[in-house]
Amino acid sequence: MTDISQNGSTPRKHGETLMKLTARTKRRNAAERRFQAYGIAAIAAGLLMLAILVVNIVGNGYGAFTQTFVTLDVTLDAAKLDKKGQRNLDDIKKVSTFGYAPLIQKAIEAKVAALGVKTDLKPKDMAALLSKGAPAQLRDYVLEHPDAIGKTLSFRFLANSRVDGYLKGRVTRHSIENDKNISVPQLDLTDQLVKAGVIEKTFNSEFILGSDASDQRPEAAGIGTSMLGSLFMMLVVLALSLPIGVAASIFLEEFAPKAWWTDVIEVNISNLAAVPSIVFGILGLAVFINYMNQPMSAPLVGGLVLTLMTLPTIIISTRAALKAVPPSIRDAALGVGASKMQAVFHHVLPLAAPGILTGTIIGLAQALGETAPLLLIGMVGFIASNPPDSLAAGLMEPNSAMPAQIYEWAKRADPAFYERAWGGIIILLVFLVTMNTLAVILRRRFERRW
């Protein structure tokens, strides 16, 4: 017991002062300070990266949330839109969007003239400041309100993406030298109209709520429909992976005997968690689409694939949560004569629930941001249609998902789509951060200590 002191192996000599540090102590203290400095440097580097990332994303994506609009008074000329004058919807439908384009040209010409702006542009070139979707917007309105024919109404049209880019600083007079879509006189006119308040940049709710648009009209593209696609996928993932994952974990953790086959299952689950997601994608393609003949691009299939991916995460975190419940609680329940299942469902599971929920939310957040498997099952479709109107449609009809939509936009040539991709990333990140925060709050709130 007292060997050490008897042998006198202490480095400090008797009678030495405590007021002076020995060389050995100094070295140890220096090593400790160095280690702390490394740690602080590592954290600082991490924070710096995060700050750069956030600044970059917000800086690039902010523009997608505002959009340039042109407000014009358009006369819905009855002679052009409804020649028979009977307001018969079938007759009105015969007029295609080409029939509406002149009305817009006339409207902008009148506006320019009224403002007294001098320009050499033809009305057709003036109308090119508007989105190519403007006539369609007008036609949709007229088909919905046939009574409006013959009246002059004020409309708010999307501006062309070049005009929008000009107001956002993306397009300059210098950068459009080789651009056939817009010319310097058109930009001059834009300046004048901005001054007059005809063209203005405002918040763009269509980006958050709307659906994708064609290559020609980046100004109209929105992420809303693919958000719905993601939502339906997450519903499938939640509905399948939570019950399956929790049931599997409870069985493995509480009921299964310790045998070679449970070890095999355990090792496989850990391995599955590390399998690249694209492998799940090709599995989904082979099994769900090719073999089971489920529809391509459907959120149902996407959800099934993501379920496969999320299950290991949920099983692992659920098992950890179950393991964290002290055995004394199980003993207590069994000791008063509860059956094993009663002990699990009355006592263990409620105590493990916060951990299970946290794991599930994190698993869902992972699934929400997953892109690779969706590429393989075709969930990168161009979906410009209206949002699904029922649960069945939402699950079975082709759709895209948020990360796939972002990938799709980033792929397109027009720089205006590039901005939208960044904007989409902001929305996706908001969802992910919200989910993860929720997980942290749940964990803090319901964490128990024994």
């Binding site: 004394s328 199980r330 207590a332 000791g335 008063v336």
Partner: protein, 265 residues
């Protein structure tokens, strides 16, 4: 008349509640309990003493089949409760544990209200037909657990918020709420301070009137204080079993004497 009454009393005191015959327990390869034969009497406190790892807790846990939850644990031999072998395949451990209650080393109340802690057992065994009956059982159990006066005003408070000694008495009250016939206690005072220990010991003495109590303890003084019968375990063997007074004053086996006098253990 008087003679007959005396005779009856003597007979009643000698009713055997649990009798173990040639009990062997294996943990995988290791042989934890060897050839244990013991008769535990009704309305008596029986203490199991012995050094750490001697198998006394293992044997205690055999008496209500808590060892079933350990995969590698195998029990051989017979343990008869009122003449019925509790390891018979027809016996469901859940029913057995309602008859043989258990109190653990560390107080382990459920993280629920005091009321729910007590009411859980009666609820799952269907002992109460309505809320009033359940209230009655809860009050009776808490009174018998000698904790009613301390918690009667806060039955909705969490059981985990009580002090260690109160928690252990709550656990005892929880164990007796299911109306068991035998109460097993696995070192119930090892996590408690001397005052709480004294309270629990007093309680054990009262419980003797209604139950057969088996208590595992490391403290020989405690065994001497609370028990009428004592069993000394050593390396998985039941070395000596007899009247507590005799074990502590005049042990037959030299190993018992060595342990009691502090030379082994």
């Amino acid at each position: 008349m008087y003679d007959i009454a005396t005779t009856e009393k003597t007979v009643e005191q000698q009713v055997t509640k649990i009798s173990a015959r040639d009990v062997q327990v294996y943990y995988g390869e290791s042989h934890a309990i060897k050839d244990v034969n013991v008769d535990i009497e009704d309305k008596t406190v029986t203490a199991f003493i012995g050094p750490s790892g001697c198998g006394k807790s293992t044997f205690l846990r055999c008496l209500n089949r808590m060892n079933d939850t350990i995969d590698i644990c195998k029990v051989k031999g017979e343990i008869l409760l009122d003449g019925e072998n509790i390891y018979d395949p027809k016996v469901d451990p859940v029913q057995l544990r309602a008859k043989v209650g258990m109190v653990f080393q560390k107080p382990n109340p459920f993280p629920k209200s005091i009321y729910d802690n007590i009411a859980y057992g009666p609820r799952i065994h269907g002992l109460a037909r309505n809320k009033a009956e359940l209230d009655e059982i809860v009050e009776k159990s808490l009174r018998r657990g000698a904790i009613w006066n301390e918690v009667k005003d806060r039955l909705d408070a969490p059981g985990t918020g009580l002090s260690g000694g109160q928690q252990q008495r709550l656990c005892i009250a929880r164990a007796i709420a299911t109306e068991p016939e035998v109460l097993l206690m696995d070192e119930p005072c090892s996590a408690l301070d001397p005052i709480a220990t004294a309270q629990v010991e007093e309680l054990i003495d009262e419980l003797r009137q209604n139950y057969s109590v088996v208590i595992v303890t490391h403290s020989m003084q405690q065994a001497a204080r609370v028990s009428q019968k004592t069993a000394f375990f050593h390396l998985g063997n039941l070395v000596e079993f007899g009247e507590t007074g005799q074990i502590f004053t005049n042990p037959e086996d030299p190993r018992t004497e060595s342990y009691i006098t502090g030379r082994i253990g």
